[in-house]
Structures are given as structure tokens and as C-alpha cells.
Assembly symmetry: C2
Homo-oligomer: 129 residues x 2
């Protein structure tokens, strides 16, 4: 299989990562996802990693990158289905996935995407999430 | 990866098949899916095969079996995202997937699952879908 499918459900895209990631597959996913986000109104992206029972720094970085790319394109990313072992490994690798929202499962991720994001306007006028 | 994840979205389960199927993986999927259907109220199952660019009689049979098992457990199955080449191969293999509902994509599959199923009662009193 040469690409990871991206499923559209209304304004939300769902990406399920099941296979071992390698450079080319990650690049293809980035391309496909960003293209799909701008093709049609997309408010959020759910990345399901429940099939991953281990993770390395490459996957961790990729998830962070997907999240930042989506954010620039005005879509929020929620990573769902993370296993305890994966959370432990990520922290041990020093990757705290800052700025990446997480939820227990797809349903909770959907709920999170439906709630409006808090944006506070600090005194200096910059927007901060 | 030793199992295919089953994602719950309300009363609907979503199964995305991305990897090459082998006997044990198919058995695990059957077990997991039937367990999940009866664990919590489930009205339908969406099987996404958009990542499959080819199919053999084993996969064809497995899809048919999943559909029949779900039906016995009172959940409808809709196969979504089938590629043209896969449809051609299935017919050439003589597998018409009778009794299996199909839809173009996840959104249409969801819509199909939301519409009530027609059940006609023939003169002899047997139920027929």
C-alpha cells in the first residue's frame, strides 16, 4: 500500500495510521492531507494512532509536523487512540507533542473539534491559542 | 501491526483496511468486530477499502463474511471507497458481494446507514431485506 487513506466526514478528516512509516509515505501523507484540507472546508483533522503499539522519534516528529501544517491551514489536529506505552515512549524521547491536542478516542476527538477554540488576546495585541 | 483498529463513532463502527490481509489478521478482525458490535449498541459498520488497489478472492470472501456476521448481530455493513479496479476484479472473480451494501465514500456510507432499511414481508410470512 503506497498511501494512507484520508477519510472525509463533513468538515473533519480522519487519518488512521496502521502501517510502519517511512520517509516517502510520510511525505505522501503530508501532501495528501494539506491538499485535502484546502480542497474543501475543513475544520479539523483526527489522527488515529490506536494501531501503533510503539513509536519512534520519526513518527513523533511527523505527528507534530502534520499538526503544525494543519494549523497554518486553519484546521485543528487531534491525535486520538494513543496507547499508554506510546505516551511513555514519547516523553522518554523528550517529545512532549506541544501544541498537539490529544483525545482518548475518535468520539472524544470529534467532541473536542466541535468546541470552539479559546483564543485570548494578550495586552500586546498578539493572538495566542 | 497485529490488528486492524475499529473506531467507534456513536452507533457506527469504522474499519479501515490498509494492510495486506492474512488468515490470522482476518480472524482477529472478525473476533474484534463481532465483540465490539455486541459490547455497545451498534447500528452499522463501515468498511473502508479505499487503500486497497487490488483484491483477491480471500479479501472478497472476508468482506462478505464480515457483512453476514454483522447482519446476524443486527448491524448493517456498508463497504466504502472501492476503487474501480477492485470492482472489476471482484466481478471477474465471480464475487458479486451479494447482500453487501456499498457506497462511494464514508459520508455517503453514513447517510446510507441513517436511512431505515426496507423490510418487505412476502405472502409466505418470511422476512426479506
Amino acid at each position: 500500500m503506497e498511501r494512507i487513506p484520508i477519510l472525509r466526514m463533513g468538515e473533519v478528516l480522519l487519518v488512521t495510521i496502521q502501517v510502519d512509516m517511512h520517509d516517502r509515505l510520510a511525505m505522501t501523507l503530508q501532501d495528501d492531507l494539506t491538499t485535502e484540507i484546502q480542497r474543501k472546508r475543513t475544520s479539523g483533522v483526527l489522527v488515529d494512532i490506536s494501531a501503533l503499539d510503539m513509536v519512534d522519534s520519526f513518527i513523533g516528529r511527523m505527528i507534530g509536523n502534520l499538526s503544525r501544517m494543519s494549523q497554518i491551514l486553519d484546521a485543528r489536529t487531534v491525535v486520538v487512540g494513543m496507547r499508554p506505552a506510546v505516551a511513555i515512549t514519547l516523553v522518554e524521547l523528550g517529545m512532549n507533542l506541544e501544541g498537539v491536542h490529544t483525545a482518548l478516542n475518535v468520539e472524544r476527538g470529534m467532541t473536542l473539534l466541535r468546541t470552539p477554540e479559546r483564543r485570548t488576546i494578550p495586552a500586546d495585541g498578539d493572538y495566542q491559542n
